[in-house]
């Protein structure tokens, strides 16, 4: 399985690259944003950071970069796409995921661990979690306040597109557990087909024992497991 990490100017692409290259020991390439370099990849990761300085709006300028235009075709064909933090913002701006993010309601840059409830564990990215499980990931953002109108929210709920919600340690999805004002405590959503997933929390920052938390590693292992099953079923090529 071949992974690609997109490197927009200002992305923390090395963080994600490291997970595949060093933690998982898996083939991965760095894809430059001005090129259409996604051919042959099985999963594309848009990392966190501040793409193009986040001028105009977070993720807006990256949303119209050449690689993102190719990404739309790639996703349309069923390719796996994971957007983390700023990568999530890029997917929203590019229209690959529904909704938008606003500045955090409390105007603060929030940088701490949060609890998340897994609402959808049937995705290629979440198979190693159980439905309703409470996990902890770190967040680090000033603009993660997810917004979608009521009609859009109803559709997300109906089609199980809400993947993670901010919750308390006991799993209560309540305003007190919401770090940024997101509608419905939403921390991550997926596309209708489930092959595009974006989230504000950072799974790549909790993948090793030395960091005190490996909950994020299971997200990356989920992708590999999903791919392995597809290989056994002969749906995807070996290699």
């Amino acid at each position: 399985m071949k992974f690609g990490v997109v490197n927009y100017p200002g992305s923390n692409a090395a963080d994600c690259y490291y997970i595949f290259d060093r933690v998982l020991g898996h083939p991965v390439s760095m894809i430059m944003s001005e090129e259409r370099g996604l051919d042959g990849l099985d999963c594309v990761v848009l990392p966190g950071g501040f793409s193009y300085g986040d001028y105009l709006r977070a993720g807006a300028l990256a949303g119209i970069a050449p690689v993102t235009e190719q990404l739309a075709e790639y996703a349309e064909q069923g390719g796996l796409v994971l957007g983390i933090g700023n990568g999530f913002q890029v997917l929203l701006e590019a229209g690959l995921l529904p909704g938008a993010v606003r500045r955090n309601k409390n105007l603060l840059f929030r940088c701490h661990d949060v609890f998340l409830r897994v609402d959808n564990n049937a995705l290629p990215f979440t198979g190693n979690y159980s439905k309703g499980e409470i996990i902890s990931f770190p967040i680090a953002h000033g603009q993660g306040n997810y917004y979608i109108d009521e009609q859009g929210l109803a559709q997300l709920e109906q089609k199980s597109q809400i993947v993670f919600r901010y919750c308390t340690a006991e799993g209560q999805v309540i305003p007190a557990a919401n770090p940024n004002g997101s509608v419905g405590n939403i921390a991550g959503v997926c596309s209708e087909q489930g092959n595009v997933f974006g989230l504000m929390p950072h799974p790549e920052r909790c993948t090793e024992e030395i960091l005190g938390n490996t909950a994020g590693l299971r997200l990356f292992l989920s992708i590999l497991d999903w791919w392995g099953i597809r290989q056994q079923e002969g749906v995807v090529a070996h290699g």
């Binding site: 105009l56 709006r57 807006a60 300028l61 949303g63 119209i64 929203l92 701006e93 909704g99 938008a100 606003r102 500045r103 955090n104 309601k105 409390n106 105007l107 306040n145 917004y147 979608i148 109108d149 004002g181």
Partner: protein
């Protein structure tokens, strides 16, 4: 040549934390008659075109594609002919 003044505002009902924070400070300065402050963005675009309709269409396309996030924001613009 045409010049477009583009005004981008948050849609009705979308929370404006910046506006709210500014309003609080302004009230504490003693301007108690100010009841509300909304923030937005302003863009000035120069379009090298002879044709008003074509220029208008181009400005609209640019707004829809990149300058404005239509999930959160609305926009209006004024177009005027200017010297080259």
């Amino acid at each position: 040549m045409f010049e477009a003044s583009i005004y981008v505002t948050l849609k009705k009902g979308i929370l404006d934390p910046d506006g709210k924070a500014i309003k609080q400070r302004i009230s504490s300065l003693g301007f108690e008659q100010v009841k509300e402050i909304s923030t937005g963005k302003y863009f000035l675009l120069k379009v090298n075109s002879q044709d008003r309709t074509a220029a208008e269409q181009e400005v609209r396309q640019i707004c829809d594609k990149i300058l404005v996030n239509l999930v959160l924001e609305d926009y209006t613009f004024e177009l005027r002919e200017v010297e080259r």
